[in-house]
Amino acid sequence: MFGYITPYKEELKIREYSLFKAYYCSLCKTLGKEFNQIVRMGLNYDFAFLALLLSSIDRDRDAINMEGCIINPVKKKPVVKCNRNIVYSAYMSMLLIYYKLLDDWKDHHSFIALSAMLPYLASMKKAKKVYYDKYMDISNHLKSLSILEKNQCSVIDESADAFAKLMQSLFTAPYINDEKTIRILGWMGYNLGRWIYIIDAFNDIEKDIKQKNYNPILLQYQYSHGEEWTAFIDRIKEPVERSLTFTLDNVSKSFELLDVKYNRTVLENIIYMGLRRKMDQIFVRKGCNSNEKSI
């Protein structure tokens, strides 16, 4: 369910590209500092976006230092100086990765997932203490999500609602006091969460047919056994794409109301082009998903 929020590199300036990477690196280092080295490996771009977004509406511009890294200690790279937004994003990403592993364990009894969870146990205890409300929010929304799945919910909007509410909670960092900003971030998070949930379900259609997994798209559009998955996708493509694009429109409408102080062009790049590119790629499903690997 992760890694859908990335920039559209073709239209990024080198400076902007380094800036995005500097947030990513800082988040990664913070994960190592707050928790441990193994937790660090689960990092993905979605949370770099959260750190970047929250930092961009905070009071002060972030300083960037040149630092070495555990992977390449000699070569120094630009890293944003750690701030409260990066620490918060680090905690939230750790919580979500843990729950994802827990989910994999419950669903498939995957021992890889179970053993991967071990390094998280101490970190989870710490997170529960530091961000108790968010910890409870996440676990409650994931609980409703698994109930919806268990009951074979056949309304896409309803299934997406649980994950959307989870993201709504993540985006409203507890130290933000301004009522308007909370509303805007919340609606932006809701729509991003909704978008991620539905695009992920769409992306998994083929796999879910084969493995007979729960997928609200298959249920809402009454996939019948024996139907070619490509034929099914052709049948449902238009309404799903319309609803996803409208969701992105709502993300952008929220963003335009935020009082963004820094990094506007990078954020615009992600919201208007990066997300859309991800969606277009998944919809076109061409054989070549080349130049999108890692930054």
Partner: protein, 205 residues
């Protein structure tokens, strides 16, 4: 009042032409139609007001006379219209005020479900972020009463906003770069053209 130049996102001392262009772009961005049934529509209205004030102030102080700016457009406002059914009017008001839960509760208590019912249910769904359901309900309203311009406008608003979102990306350069495939195709094409004209671009073919 905030610095009007800052509000319009232009440098101080910008020309009248620049002010007008900035104003036009922002007015389009925060137009009420772009925020129809969005739970943040009140914030967009505030922003619009700020933009109008900044523009008015700058125009006034340019010495070019006071210009009344009309940006309201055809806001899809629910209030102030006459509808036969009192209950529906009340529900429209609730949606307008953002009290979606109460609006939905009242809608559920209505048993005769006409076009207006489906339309309002659709509006509730947009507010909640359930866009797929919203589209279905509004579409149903249009099917039941194809003559109603408001229902059709609400349905069109969804496609209109999807296009608007895509246009912003295109304006920023989305999809304009040539992919490796395009480059190859153009080269082969250029080679063919050259050969037709008697020259050669790629010598091996």
């Amino acid at each position: 009042m905030k610095n009007p130049y800052e509000v319009l996102g232009i440098r101080e001392g910008a020309s009248e032409e620049e002010i007008k262009r900035a104003y036009r772009d922002l007015a389009r961005k925060y137009h009420p139609d772009q925020y129809a049934n969005n739970p943040l529509s009140d914030l967009a209205q505030e922003k619009m007001k700020e933009i109008n004030e900044a523009y008015d102030f700058l125009m006034k102080n340019k010495g070019s006379g006071y210009q009344q700016t009309n940006s309201g457009g055809n806001q899809s406002s629910y209030t102030g219209r006459s509808y036969g059914n009192n209950q529906y009017m009340h529900i429209r008001h609730l949606i307008e005020m953002g009290n979606v839960a109460e609006a939905e509760r009242l809608l559920e208590s209505i048993t005769t479900r006409d076009a207006e019912w489906y339309f309002l249910k659709g509006a509730v769904y947009i507010r909640r972020g359930w866009y797929d359901q919203a589209y279905r309900y509004i579409q149903r309203a249009v099917e039941m009463n194809p003559g109603n311009a408001e229902y059709r406008a609400a349905l069109n608003n969804i496609s209109f906003r999807n296009t608007a979102y895509r246009n912003v990306g295109r304006g920023m350069g989305y999809g304009t770069g040539a992919s490796p495939c395009d480059i190859c195709t153009s080269l082969i094409c250029a080679d063919c053209c050259c050969e037709c004209m008697g020259g050669d671009l790629i010598s091996c073919c």
